[in-house]
Symmetry: C3
Subunit: 297 residues, 3 copies
């Protein structure tokens, strides 16, 4: 059994960034955001039950002149086991709960991790000889993952190999998640650690708490130095077609104007798509907001 | 209901341009032309009847070393209403009748508008921060459209925003069309106006007349200055599998060698594809011709 | 009848090149190889039975930062006849038996032709104005092909047009193949000739012998000068799910460290995919090996 399928999502709407005209006063604070993502997946299931497959992503986001193609991810799955090679996912980026504070149609949050680490690359890889391997195993409510990304597999010198692990477990209303990454984004000693927990109070309401020790990058880099730690408390509440979302986060990076960020948002279910908006305040004391539509296919 | 579909067309054949070797005598007057276009469309229909979707175009034409990806267009449709965002169509370029004088397998005509204006970009957008919005409404034989293209939505300085509107109406054998564009292609005061009318004499024969006030671009540009006005009279006649086409056009741009252009062409229906050819004379007194096959899928 | 289909293959595994660290000792001898190929094909069958179609290939191989798109091939088929235009196949590259000495999951062999000639380009064409035409005719066990590739169809000066022809014939257990190319890869006088024969001893075993007169390229090019001739003896033997492969080849290029190369390999049928490995020695006295999986879709 073999075939090619295409899935993905589209989103479009307005994005406001109150700080966009701080330096150049003619810059626009409100712009239109568009993104269209196609995941092109091929799979072949062998007689033994092992499925082999591959993915190339085609994506365009506003701000780029044309759509890009990612590098390929190749994978094999067998029951709960999954192995990826090439433009692989990473264990750290794939952990449960990490991005649950996100809101709005662009799915953003200042409560997300602020550090530097690799993930599946939607556009070209950062380097031509980038090579990742990833493995995950799921059983019941448990998933464990491990990954290694070598920014240049043709040489033993240069950037470090990023290694990460993650685990998450769901039991009834509780979910807990743990993740760690060493030499994040191939930067020596840029080690990061994540722990998160969420509790579904009932069918309508969920609260969660994430903690991230963010790692450290060279001070010559933009947003350089010790990235501090981020603590994010978030929750959502669904009433009929509407879901309300909120978070408050604290990051103690030395260069922040404000250490506290927060956001409120709402989704309205259109029955196959959602209308989503949010208003958030970031670590530069900037206000950002978005309102638009997202649909999955 | 959701899905991804791929449609488009292919064409290949011979193209002759008698002026190709005027300056460099070793240049070829006859070349092979190929084009393959894939429109990759995703749509999701919501419970309320609104359909959200997106398109990326993948296209290669001879003369380019590889296929290109367009920027994404996102859209929403509801009954007769359609809204596009991103790499949007423009009202001016989408008006009925405008391109009806075209002929041959490459669908060209010197009777087309000669001015500069935006359209859906088959390759990358001309600028990274290009942003278009478009809306159309159709009811019965009537369609109205409006569009705005900002060549750089991140700043309020620089190129102008192109705004265009168009209307067309079909009633029995008559079709009329009106379109106007302000600051075409983002060039200040490059305003253009189109009016066209066509009459289907019977099932086999159609005649039409298009008038274009072409706008004005800076004289430092190639083909610069006032672009004049173009008047095109065209017709076609179908006998069995064969359709004959002809046009004569007059453009009074100051730099023309000849103000009159004309062409004759024929299509032969292959039952799922067409064999098409044309011979045309342009404003440089050049003779161009083409003969090839086009198929749609 | 019209439609778009996507087919291709994926492969991933380990590749060893014992010579990789000869000059730069920190280079890796073992690397991970990945490739994912999508052939995107559109076809339209006309009422007369002629099928028109086109192909663009999307492919990523490790060592490149993102996937590439090929130029388009347009084609028409009618019964045993096939014509291709654009990024066309070439008669020389398409002949039977030429690549049968290949082995391993990356399908490589030092017994392959060593000369320079054009083929369908998986990535962008080598030049923007590259134009190929190809025709083949098959009847029973016979196939004949002819092709011409002009590296720049817009001018009559510059690179030569590569012309090639090939024929192959299968009758029962015997297959014979002949091919010749003139001005291979557009290089004047880089003429090459191929003859191959194979014999299926029984259902399980095949042996074959290929001879290539390799042509000559300018000495200023890498691996320049007269490329010599290559003689390759190869065979394979299938036992259940396992196929063993072996070859020995002799190439008398003046710059070789060794004139003899050889390889042994094995495929294991996974029932929809194959696990393949090989160990080979090349003309630089280097040892290369590979082990991995390939699946077709």
């Amino acid at each position: 059994e073999t075939g090619v399928s295409i899935s993905g999502y589209g989103r479009f709407g307005l994005v406001y960034d109150g700080s966009a005209d701080d330096v150049v006063t003619t810059n626009s604070t409100t712009t239109i955001h568009t993104r269209l993502r196609f995941n092109i997946d091929a799979t072949t299931e062998t007689d033994s039950g092992v499925t082999f497959g591959g993915r190339i992503r085609m994506q365009h986001s506003s701000g780029s002149d044309g759509a890009d193609l990612s590098a390929a991810m190749l994978f094999a799955t067998y029951e709960g086991l999954r192995v990826e090679v090439g433009n692989a996912n990473t264990a750290y980026d794939s952990v449960a709960l990490m991005y649950d504070p996100e809101m709005g149609f662009v799915d953003s949050s200042f409560g997300d991790p602020q550090g530097n680490f690799f993930a599946f690359n939607s556009g070209p890889n950062p380097t031509a000889d980038y090579m990742g391997v990833f493995a995950s195993y799921s059983m019941g409510g448990f998933t464990g993952r491990i990954s290694a990304i070598d920014p240049d597999q043709t040489t033993s010198v240069g950037a470090e190999t990023e290694v990460s692990v993650s685990f998450d477990y769901t039991s009834g209303p509780f979910t807990v998640a743990l993740a760690a990454v060493q030499d994040g984004e191939g930067i020596a000693d840029n080690d990061q650690f994540f722990v998160g927990a969420a509790y579904a109070i009932n069918d309508a309401a969920t609260v969660g708490l994430n903690y991230v020790d963010e790692g450290e990058v060279p001070v010559v880099m933009a947003h350089g130095g010790d990235q501090g730690r981020t603590i994010t408390l978030y929750g959502n509440y669904t009433m009929g077609a509407t879901t309300l979302r909120a978070y408050v986060a604290d990051n103690d990076y030395a260069g922040n104007v404000e250490d506290t960020s927060f956001g409120i948002g709402a989704d309205y279910d259109l029955g196959g798509a959602r209308l989503s908006g949010s208003i958030q305040r970031g670590y530069e004391d900037e206000t950002v907001a978005d309102l638009g539509v997202r649909f999955d296919f």
